[in-house]
């Protein structure tokens, strides 16, 4: 018997009864009874119980709906492909972004019509590096502004949104020009976002050098990164946009190929311009 041998008339019983006698379900909460009980009246009301159950079922229903619709707008499975990376790939790709001059084979390998995951092919685009580069760039921009005493939390938001908007504008412009030139390419929108996002790495390096070594450091490293991004973009896009013959280096006459070549050069040239535009105000 778990009952306590205490006198029921004992006023201390209110607290002792719960913890004495080895009562395993610990009623110490009862000691707080007077505090919680007025609130409990709400929970004990059957209507509010019903409301709570209904509310939780609404929440789960809403969540299902959101998952379903989210998958329609943002294809989660396709996105997963771009994040299937590992450390070795990221290391090599970063090296490639900074020094693309020695790399020979820029072809993306396929496996029965589907591109191989970025883990296994260094030429495949991924979204991890652009995403991390973007966030790092924002944080370093905040740091740079902080050292110049121009920092406030709103500035971070302004930097982030302006960089994002420029990215969207660039991707839309490239899509539009690809459509106008009627290029048959397998470049998806996400691929373009990935390729346009690679410049954030160069921007980050430039701003960091500017923080550490002043304006000269900024200009030198930005120049180097601009050149390497230019070469990288040309070599990557060439294979995707130009026809096969032209991509192999053979000279192919024809207005169409020339147009495509100009397009590739224009895309590549836009990268350094954006890199300078988005970073020069950060370094004084």
């Amino acid at each position: 018997m778990r009952g306590t041998p205490m006198d029921p008339g004992d006023p201390r019983l209110l607290f002792d009864d719960t913890s004495a006698g080895g009562d395993r379900h610990g009623h110490s909460g009862v000691g707080k009874g007077p505090d919680v009980y007025p609130g409990q009246a709400l929970l004990s009301d059957p209507m509010s119980n019903l409301a709570m159950v209904y509310g939780s079922s609404l929440a789960s229903h809403g969540r299902e709906m959101m998952d379903k619709n989210l998958d329609r707008f943002i294809p989660i499975s396709k996105l997963k492909y771009y994040f299937a990376v590992d450390t070795v790939y990221v290391g090599k790709k970063l090296g490639l972004l900074v020094f693309p001059f020695m790399h020979d084979n820029w072809e993306v390998s396929y496996q029965q019509d589907t591109p191989v995951a970025p883990r296994f092919d260094i030429n495949a685009p991924d979204l991890y590096i652009p995403l991390m580069g973007f966030i790092t760039y924002i944080l370093v921009a905040g740091l740079a502004l902080g050292t110049q005493n121009r920092f406030s939390p709103e500035i971070l938001g302004i930097q982030a949104s302006s960089a994002l908007v420029w990215l969207i504008i660039e991707v839309l412009a490239v899509l539009l020009s690809l459509y106008l030139v009627t290029v048959n390419t397998d470049l998806t929108t996400i691929d373009l976002v990935a390729f346009s996002g690679y410049k954030y790495v160069g921007m980050f390096v430039g701003v960091l050098a500017g923080l550490l070594f002043g304006r000269t450091g900024y200009y030198l490293s930005l120049l180097w990164c601009c050149v390497s991004i230019f070469v990288f973009t040309i070599r990557t896009m060439r294979l995707k946009i130009l026809s096969e013959a032209a991509a192999e280096g053979r000279l192919v006459r024809g207005a169409k190929n020339q147009l495509r070549m100009y397009l590739t050069i224009a895309i590549a040239a836009a990268q350094p311009i954006f890199m300078y535009w988005l970073t020069f105000h950060l370094v004084r």
Binding site: R2, T18, S28, G33, I76, F83
Partner: protein, 268 residues
């Protein structure tokens, strides 16, 4: 003959309660239903609870023994522990030392696991056991966040809001990233739990900041070391829990960014 709470619960076939809520309902009107329906929802509160009359100790002592139909029931309906809401797990830390351990088991606060996880964080070079993260335990992280805010308070920065806001956004970002990067998905609670536990070294950093200013060379080195420690242990736990191979540095980098923001708050 008074029946205690436990005996009534046993009568109703209730074995183990591992919920955050501890609920037991006693319905003097329906004794068979009295123990039934132990679940996390509040549906069982449909039992009407009359006024609880504290002025009658007699009524209280009789409440566990509700098998006394001859007593008037205006004040006899006993609702023992409605205060055990997740929000009050904080208070459980103070009262838990007075209560017996099985209470904590029922609440899901497993001290052994909490201690194990803390040790895993504190020994970054020791291999982690992936299964300890299976349960979502937000009690520990909450304590760590509060401790971090408290140590910041000692330096005069009242920035609880920033701490919570940044941890929320950071957890959300890590949740999206990990879901995209891993083969199996993760739940948000698991991510929040891991990131919260690995905030522990940050508390050490901010307590150093109380003693001396962190803006010198020593402070910068200490900050960098602590950020590395936090993100390394967080990534170690995550990749062992999600079985991601060759991606430890990739997971460590976003964690380092997140903890870097926390360090920025402590230093500046």
């Amino acid at each position: 003959m008074t029946l205690t709470v436990t005996e009534l619960l046993a009568m109703s076939g209730f074995d183990k309660l591992d919920a955050d809520f501890y609920q037991s309902s006693f319905s003097v009107d329906d004794q068979n239903q009295g123990g039934g329906g132990y679940s996390n929802t509040d549906v069982q509160y449909s039992n009407p609870y009359g006024q609880y009359d504290y002025s009658q100790p007699m009524g209280y002592s009789a409440a566990p023994g509700i098998m006394q139909p001859q007593q008037p029931y205006t004040g006899q309906i006993f609702q023992p522990t409605p205060a055990f809401t997740p929000a009050s797990t904080q208070s459980m830390y103070s009262s838990s030392f007075e209560d017996e351990p099985p209470l904590l088991e029922e609440l899901g606060i497993n001290f052994d696991h909490i201690w194990q996880k803390t040790l895993t964080v504190l020994h970054p070079l020791k291999a982690a056991d992936g299964s300890i993260m299976n349960e979502t335990d937000l009690a520990g992280p909450m304590v760590f966040c509060l401790a971090f805010g408290a140590t910041l308070l000692f330096t005069g920065k009242i920035q609880f809001g920033y701490v919570y806001g940044i941890s929320a956004i950071g957890c959300l970002g890590m949740y999206c990233l990990l879901n995209l990067m891993s083969m199996t998905g993760v739940s948000f609670g698991c991510v929040a739990s891991v990131l919260g536990y690995c905030l522990l070294p940050m508390i050490i950093l901010s307590s150093f900041g109380v003693l001396f200013s962190l803006q010198g060379m020593l402070g910068i080195i200490l900050t960098a070391a602590i950020i590395g420690w936090c993100s390394f242990s967080a990534s170690k736990i995550i990749i062992s829990a999600l079985a991601m191979d060759g991606q430890q540095l990739l997971v460590a980098y976003p964690c380092a960014l997140l903890y870097g923001v926390f360090a920025l708050i402590s230093v500046f």
